[in-house]
């Protein structure tokens, strides 16, 4: 596009051209006064598609899911004031899970900033604690370089959301436009390669391990390091566990995988974590939902190797012995090379004994549930979904019990297939997440596992699905309760179910139908499989299907580690 270079352009044109230069496919957004010039330029172009959502929060979630599923930077565009405040939940959600998105926000004209103008908020101030970085562009001359910086910062190092706030006058001011190929930032240079001495120490430690454990988090997925992780794990013959964010980072159906760990992790994964003598943490951050009480975790002696691109994630909650700062993929690749050169092999006898112990833990079969119930068990729906979709669907979820059941019973063998809000725990992400994924992968099977409470937090997006014919399948595990709240109230609040009951639910079938979608209500366990098969059948391929499964109101998520308790202090299903 040499022709374009050095041509005068308005700020609005520059925004649109920068997005085109970045190869952006979709911009999720909602127009408003401050961004009208930008929308006018969007109208005139055909490089990317704009997807009109029904609420700005959903725009950011959809962009976030596009990023999670493709590995590319997602883009959202919202107007000033309420457009921004609505977007904040989406931005914070992406921030907590380190998702690369760029959010362009409109702002009141620069002379009006600070005068409490109509639809003015301090966007940079409001978003500062929940972005990787943000910019207020006061001069159109800085706009192109700022857009470039935003994309670089969002995607590199530990990824995260970047907000670019563009006042309205900047969108009609003009300047010479040239999109820089790159921008140097003296204050920003993420570490990429691991320290060779530390990696040697780490490999030595792994080879000396008697009871090793590999603990792999979202960094493996975000860093596209699944292959390297699988190769390392298989070469060593070690057990591996994935965090909620790391699911799919190592194939769930592989024997070496002990399943998810943490508050609702498997018995074998949590026990192996607690009793390991050498722990390799890869792109994970030892958070409170994963290791429980750090003091309890520290009771057993173990040496810890921690690979992470973000130095501040290392030794934050748990002291580690060998910190390795670097891109997970690079570090694992280098460690694999060292491992292959090493003369020593893992201690086969010790490893055998360790696996015998792990199999004993595994034989507890901690995910068993009542399969002969006359009421639909939510776990059964997820298991059947896994079968019907042959384990190959993209699955988004909302937040609560259904999220945990999805994580426990849908066995993800590939990375970037499981899309959920792990860090912030944002109810309402499921449907916009499914939209973002389906638009990125129009031919893929996309299921949104949700609950009747969560789905109502962004249910307006049924309209967006109608407009763009987005054929996602919504699987509502409807127990007429805010299930996870109800579970905690049952366990810890004497079964006083304060405000956790969902009264006055809509008829979801009619609701879906009113938007032109297919609605289904499933009441009996024997109808579950047939309904799912129908929803995913070629006949309904092009249709959005809303499935309302009437599930057991009293079902709880097990195993469970109570807040503040140790990882090995699990409540199992049969103990109640």
């Amino acid at each position: 596009m040499i022709f374009y270079q050095f041509m005068e352009a308005t700020g609005a044109e520059i925004v649109v051209r920068c997005l085109a230069e970045e190869g952006v496919e979709f911009v999720f957004g909602y127009p408003g006064g401050a961004v009208l010039n930008i929308y006018d330029e969007i109208f005139k172009q055909n490089k990317f598609k704009h997807v009109l959502v029904r609420h700005e929060q959903a725009a950011v979630h959809a962009a976030d899911a596009y990023a999670r599923s493709t590995g590319r930077v997602g883009v959202a565009l919202v107007t000033s004031g309420p457009g921004v405040t609505n977007a904040v939940t989406g931005i914070a959600t992406a921030y907590m899970d380190s998702i690369p998105i760029v959010v362009v926000t409109g702002q009141v004209p620069t002379p009006a900033i600070g005068l409490d103008a109509f639809q003015e908020v301090d966007t940079v101030g409001i978003t500062r604690p929940c972005v990787k970085h943000n910019f207020l562009v006061k001069d159109v001359k800085d706009l192109a370089a700022t857009m470039k910086k935003a994309f670089i910062i969002a995607a590199t190092g530990r990824p995260g959301p970047v907000v670019v706030d563009v006042p309205k006058d900047v969108t009609y001011h003009t300047t010479d436009f040239e999109y820089p190929a790159t921008v140097e930032m003296r204050s920003y240079s993420p570490v990429v390669k691991g320290h060779s001495g530390q990696m040697k120490r780490a490999v030595q430690m792994l080879l000396e391990a008697k009871r090793p454990m590999i603990y792999a988090g979202g960094g493996v997925v975000l860093g596209d390091a699944s292959e390297q992780l699988a190769e390392l794990t298989r070469l060593l013959g070690f057990p591996v566990t994935n965090t909620l964010m790391g699911l799919g980072g190592y194939p769930a159906t592989d024997r070496q995988n002990l399943g998810m760990l943490g508050m609702h992790g498997t018995y074998e994964a949590n026990m192996a974590m607690q009793h390991s003598d050498v722990l390799l943490a890869v792109g994970a951050r030892f958070d409170d939902r994963v290791i429980g009480n750090p003091a309890h975790f520290a009771r057993e002696q173990r040496r810890i190797i921690h690979i992470d691109v973000d130095p501040s994630s290392i030794s934050k909650r748990v002291k580690v012995d060998v910190p390795i700062v670097g891109d997970v993929k690079n570090v694992l690749t280098d460690m694999l090379a060292l491992l292959k050169q090493a003369k020593e092999k893992p201690d086969a006898a010790a490893l055998n004994a360790w696996w015998t112990q792990i199999e004993l833990w595994r034989s507890k079969n901690c995910l068993k549930y009542n399969r002969s119930s006359p009421i639909i068990k939510p776990q059964y729906v997820v298991e059947k979904l896994w079968e019907v979709t042959k384990g190959d669907a993209f699955v988004t979820s909302d937040v609560g019990q259904h999220q945990m059941w999805a994580a426990q019973y849908y066995k993800f063998d590939k990375p970037r297939r499981w899309i959920n809000s792990g860090g912030l725990g944002t109810m309402g992400v499921g449907l916009p997440y499914a939209m973002g994924v389906q638009l990125a992968f129009p031919d893929a099977q996309v299921a949104c596992i949700t609950g009747e409470s969560s789905i109502q937090m962004n249910i307006q997006e049924l309209s967006t699905c109608k407009q763009y014919r987005i054929p996602v399948k919504v699987i509502t595990l409807n127990n007429r309760y805010m299930g996870m709240v109800r579970q905690w109230q049952e366990f810890f609040y004497g079964s006083r179910y304060a405000e956790s009951y969902m009264e006055s639910l809509p008829d979801f079938v009619k609701l879906a139908e009113s938007y032109g979608h297919v609605g289904m209500r499933i009441d009996k366990p024997e109808d579950v499989e047939a309904a799912l098969k129908e929803a995913f059948s070629p006949a309904l391929r092009e249709r959005m299907v809303f499935m309302d499964f009437q599930t057991d109101q009293t079902e709880n998520v097990f195993p469970m580690v109570e807040g503040g308790k140790g990882l090995s202090e699990m409540i199992l299903a049969e103990e109640l």
Binding site: V124, R186, S312, K316
Partner: protein, 165 residues
């Protein structure tokens, strides 16, 4: 064990730079005893000195989190090595009768300068480590203090130890 640390940093001299640092400290519940900031000889750079109190683990997190801020170029914990710390204090004191001579003598002992005089007041300028300024205030009759203004500590490494881009 909690200890007082002086952290120096260089960051891009841009609008909102200070609020990024201040926001980080409040969001993560870190202590902040004092914070001073001003541009350096290179106007594109701001130099900040932060005095904070925390255990080794907390201070490690603070320096890591500061380094993570995109606008921050370099961070140094001055307390890790030999360093100099100075703070400027202006004190306005009630100075009448016999007190006038007494206050002047005390100011001299602390190498303070009287920079404003009226019939009933002295304003004293005093520079030194925070502990010296504290000591001066201890030495003065608290009833005579009308007003104190302190800048917070500025720090610099000794000898070749320096914080530069």
């Amino acid at each position: 064990m909690s200890r007082r640390h002086i952290i120096s940093l260089l960051m891009e001299n841009e609008a909102g730079a200070l609020s990024r640092v201040a926001g980080l400290f409040s969001a993560r519940a870190y202590n902040i005893e004092s914070l001073t900031v001003a541009p350096t000889e290179d106007a594109t750079l701001s130099r900040m000195t932060i005095v904070t109190v925390g255990s080794e683990d907390i201070i490690e997190q603070i320096t890591k989190q500061l380094n993570k801020l995109v606008d921050v170029i370099k961070v140094m914990d001055l307390t890790e090595g030999s360093h100099i710390e100075r703070e400027l204090m202006l004190v306005k004191l009630r100075a009448v009768g016999a007190d006038r001579e007494e206050i002047k003598r005390t100011a001299d002992i602390f190498r303070g300068n009287i920079i404003d005089v009226t019939e009933s007041t002295y304003t004293i300028e005093l520079t030194g480590a925070g502990s010296k300024l504290d000591a001066f205030l201890e030495a003065i009759d608290s009833a005579s203090i009308i007003e104190t203004v302190r800048t917070g500590a500025s720090g610099i490494g000794r000898g070749e130890r320096s914080l530069k881009v």
